[in-house]
Amino acid sequence: MPEQTKLELAIRQKLQQKKLLLMTHIVLGYPSFDDSLRVVEDMVKAGVDLMELQIPFSEPMADGPVILKANAEALKAGATVEKSLEIAERIVSEFDIPFLFMTYYNILHTYGVNEFVSRCESIGIQGCIIPDLPPAEGLDYLEAMQADKLAPVHIFTPNTPDDRMRFLSDNSAGFIYSVARKGVTGKETTFSDDLSDYLARCRANTTLPLAVGFGVKSREDIDFLTGKADIAVVGSETIRIVEDQGVSAVKGFVESLVA
């Protein structure tokens, strides 16, 4: 994927002002669509640089208990793909940071891969993360994304060999999402020398900006990542805060990360 996407350009521009960007993750429709809108507003005001909007799916196999529950609750509260797309459209038009969709492949497959990608383009979504769609299964998707100059983001993991990392990078645009450890979202991660070595290996195998996620949840984690990655991803922790302390607590939490 030789062409630079709008997403990568935006990231590189921001990186001139800041050493480490912050990306957060929300599940659309959890606890409600109004709350989603509020949380996005608070996050953008608090200084988040880019956001993943997850379209809920009934079988989120790569997600841990916190995001799993948020998916289930959103669906129970009546979230549909159409409503998710509509709220995303509003979000993108109201807030001036890059937004990505995160969802599972069945959502695209059912909607129609080309139709879904065109809709992303018309909404102004800049990229997608589809954790259960390896490049070999997603040729249509990759083609459609490339045609619309959108960024398909793939994932590096600690047990991804170097040649596979390069293959994934060749099929990605925008940035690479590197997961800090094995397992699902929302569990503890040890920020250690091993992680530094792994991140150095990720760096060596892609020229795209590097995001790091899974278990990032405090100022210390962010400090650790500064200089080793370009984007820190905070996912489950903000959802956990919504769950434990309510929507209004999100702003303070994000501010504590970027302060």
Binding site: F57, S58, E59, P60, M61, A62, G64, L68, K69, A72, L75, T80, V81, E82, Y104, Y105, N106, I107, H109, T110, Y111, P131, D132, L133, P134, P135, A136, E137, H154, I155, F156, T157, N159, T160, P161, R164, F167, L168, V179, K182, G183, V184, K187
Partner: protein, 421 residues
């Protein structure tokens, strides 16, 4: 680029990146084992000494006469150790786990049969074992949970989603993405990402290979029709594989018709028109899902058939019309089971009874020169609570009430005892 494991448009491996190298390793181990004649020899040896292979076929003399059409035969997978065909797959994957040098196994289970079989294998081979089971199924299959725990397995009741088989599979994957270095996931049916559908069908093909030869030996010809119940599709793939190249044999897969047509009331993905093609749990097949692609609740009196997806290989056979799909409702199934118990002294599991129900429906219209073969995938000991309720047996109810009262009293005595001490 790996893009294998397709059966026309069905199958594939839609897996999170973290599992890609684990699947590569599994696929290589499977292909090496398949190429290595000594592996299958070791497998056959194990199955004939630890389980009950070759399982016989039995002619249902009384029902064949009563129904007055084709002669009915049953392939007796109920006689496997642990009471179902699940043992065939589990023992095979156990040998593969040893080959890969792993020391822990995990599995999902619906009816509990696959969980019991896996716990048994783990006890025999000395593996650590965790079984994921939907909380709803834990509640309806206590006897199986009891045995799994006796055999040293940890049974985790999964409270997410519909609390049945699909949720147990998701949870097993969540374990695997963390512990793949020492853990093998013993998937219980011919579903999931490549190579599972193909590999599980390979181990289960032992059923069809035996059955074909036995029919030839005992009746001098091939059966006209072969019936198997279809949950994920492993017992069906197992018996069908023996006859798939015999054009004169009609293969009939019987799904859970539950309370009848209409989403939510059944688990018939191929026989009814409620399912559409989708991708979930790592593979592409027909799923019972809504128009957004969200999986829907399913229902069946039998936990083992209560599943949203179906083997990609069977979806392929559905399209090529190599297998005909039918559904039997809960009521028909309980009736077929009672009839089999009463007149043949055989006790088919509720899952297997789906195949019996369809065979009993069709046999009378067939000629007495014809033979049909039913895969009796398991026995119903595990279903005693469900069956006793379904047949509404007052003596069973009294027994449970009395037993419960005894436990209650025991508990009160203990409490009082503690109080005095």
């Amino acid at each position: 680029m790996r893009n294998s494991g397709y059966f026309s448009q069905f199958g594939g491996a839609f897996i999170p990146e973290i599992l890609v190298s684990t699947f590569d390793e599994l696929e290589s181990a499977y292909l090496e084992a398949k190429d290595d004649d000594s592996f299958w020899k070791e497998y056959l040896e194990l199955m004939s000494t630890y389980s009950c292979r070759a399982t016989p076929i039995t002619r249902l003399d009384n029902l064949s006469e009563q129904l007055g059409g084709a002669s009915i035969y049953a392939k007796r997978e109920d006689l496997n150790h642990t009471g179902a065909h699940k043992a065939n797959n589990v023992m095979g994957q156990g040998l593969l786990t040893k080959r890969m040098g792993k020391t822990r196994v995990i599995a999902e289970t619906g009816a509990g049969q696959h969980g019991v079989a896996t716990a048994t294998m783990a006890a025999k081979f000395g593996f650590d074992c965790t079984i994921y089971m939907g909380a709803h199924d834990v509640a309806r299959q206590r006897p199986n949970v009891f045995w799994m725990e006796q055999m040293g397995a940890t049974v985790v009741a999964v409270k997410d989603g519909s609390q049945t088989l699909k949720d147990a599979i998701n949870e097993a994957f969540r374990d695997w993405v963390t512990n793949m270095d020492d853990t093998h996931y013993v998937l219980g049916t011919a579903c999931g990402p490549h190579p599972f559908p193909e590999m599980v069908s390979w181990f289960q093909s032992i059923i069809g290979t035996e059955a074909r030869q036995q029919m030839l030996d005992q009746t001098g010809k091939l059966p006209s029709r072969v019936y198997a119940c279809v949950g994920g599709g492993s017992n069906a793939m197992g018996i069908f594989s023996g006859f798939i190249d015999d054009k004169e044999v009609e293969l009939v897969g019987v799904e859970a018709g539950g309370r009848g047509r209409g989403v939510g009331g059944h688990a018939a993905r191929l026989a009814y028109d409620d399912a559409t093609i989708g991708v979930a749990q790592g593979y592409k097949t027909y799923f019972l899902q809504d128009k957004d692609g969200q999986m829907q609740d399913t229902h069946s009196v039998s936990a083992g058939l209560d599943y949203v997806g179906v083997s990609p290989i069977l979806s392929h056979y559905h399209e090529t019309r190599q297998v005909r799909f039918e559904a039997a409702t809960d009521d028909e199934v309980v009736e077929a089971m009672q009839r089999t118990v009463r007149h043949e002294g055989l006790i088919p599991a509720l899952e297997s009874s789906h195949a019996f129900a369809q065979a009993y429906r069709e046999a009378p219209q067939m000629s007495p020169d014809e033979n049909i073969l039913i895969n009796m995938s398991g026995r119903a000991d595990k279903d005693i609570f469900t069956v006793a309720d379904a047949v509404d047996d007052p003596k069973w109810r009294d027994f449970i009430i009395t037993k419960a009262a005894e436990y209650q009293m025991g508990q009160n005595d203990k409490k009082q005892g503690n109080g005095h001490a």
